[in-house]
Amino acid sequence: MNAPERIAAPIALIAELTHRCPLSCGYCSNPLELERASAELDTATWWRVFAEAADMGVLHLHLTGGEPMSRRDLPDLITAAAAAGLYTNLITSGVTLDDSALARLVEAGVDHIQLSFQDCLPGSADRIGGFRGGHARKLAAAARVVASGLPLTANFVVHRGNLDRIVDILALGEDIGASRIEIAHVQYHGWAMLNRAALMPTLAQLETATAAVAAARARLAGRVVIDYVVPDYFAARPKACMGGWGQRIINVSPAGLAMPCHAATSLPGLMFPSVREHSLAEIWTGSDVFAKFRAPAFAPQSCRGCERLEIDWGGCRCQAYALTGDATRADPACALAPDHALVVAALAEAHADTVVPRRVTTAVGD
């Protein structure tokens, strides 16, 4: 049906509504320099972006941040997204999700809520998130979501400091009534990269966790979906960058910059098009940034001829740049990559004890 040169429509729009957040997790993957509140897109612009997304074939809308509930117009944004026909997923810490806030979201037509959890132990969870009482608020929010009849995903971010509790973490997800549990290993982008040596799990921890997830999947089959991906540094093969650079996802930053991935601001020399000036369709099919690393025109030199090229397209561009200083190289997470020794070395050197909490630093003059 499609001519070969035609670029397939994206399936998902990730709308980063704000970089504001009440938490200060040391593994925050947002950029070191955050976009300030005064630079955020206004309500009407987001409405237009959602309508454009639906028109071009986007199916899923992920509302995220920062903390998207920091936007007072969130219910209005969800109303517009639902009217456009988008499947609307709210990704929130849940610390401000009280009864009236949830009622407004339900009335607006939200389809699914994902709550993040920092741990299963309240003290540790509050310490990691830097928000006293946050864990208890999240548990209350989860109970509200389930009582409302909305499907709930419990997202647990795991790392060396909490991975030993994986069995209890999975049990907590089940206990609170999540229909989906996501066990998300920290990805070393943005602030998280600064803390890599303190966050990296040990191989023994990882093997125990992987086995615990397999057991929980068998036990909960048909009731709870469990998503779990072995982290890059331990996997023999890299992940396709967001399903392939410019293949499936558009990410729009709080200030309206469109990018193939929320970490892409870490790459040098890219001029991201703004949704203030261009339609999403123009950006998807016509911008240099989305074309730059898009397969099949782009492939890392050392990946050409590899039988796995069309599976992972050479992995993550941001990780390639962060580790090698060259975004066009094969992702060093791949055991076949010329720079794989960098990943091996990072694992060997991961002995730091202290995680530095996220601090808010905004760019000057934006």
Binding site: A9, N89, L150, P151
Partner: protein, 90 residues
């Protein structure tokens, strides 16, 4: 395997809709997109939370003038698969 007397229904948060951009039916679930094949589409059109799996088999056997036992295997296998993926309850 799903029992023929079970009543399949979409789980909360799962939507079965026609996508004009792709000219295809899609099944949307939290963080999941399923692209059902033609047979699955015909089955899903009959999943309404009221019909039993057996009645879905009856309807398709009649519509396609096909042997009921063949249709039954297809229907129960497909429903069981989607239940395993968290899209259906039954």
């Amino acid at each position: 395997m799903i029992d023929a007397s079970a009543v399949p229904r979409l789980r909360p948060g799962v939507k079965f809709k026609f996508d004009r951009a792709r000219d295809a039916w899609v099944l949307l679930a939290p963080e999941r997109l399923f692209m059902p094949d033609e047979i699955a589409v015909e089955i899903l059109k009959l999943v309404d939370g009221v019909r039993t799996a057996a009645r879905i088999v009856d309807a398709l056997a009649a519509a396609y003038a096909a042997p009921r036992d063949v249709i039954e295997v297809d229907v129960l296998t497909m429903l069981d698969d989607l239940r395993g993926k968290g899209a259906l309850a039954a």
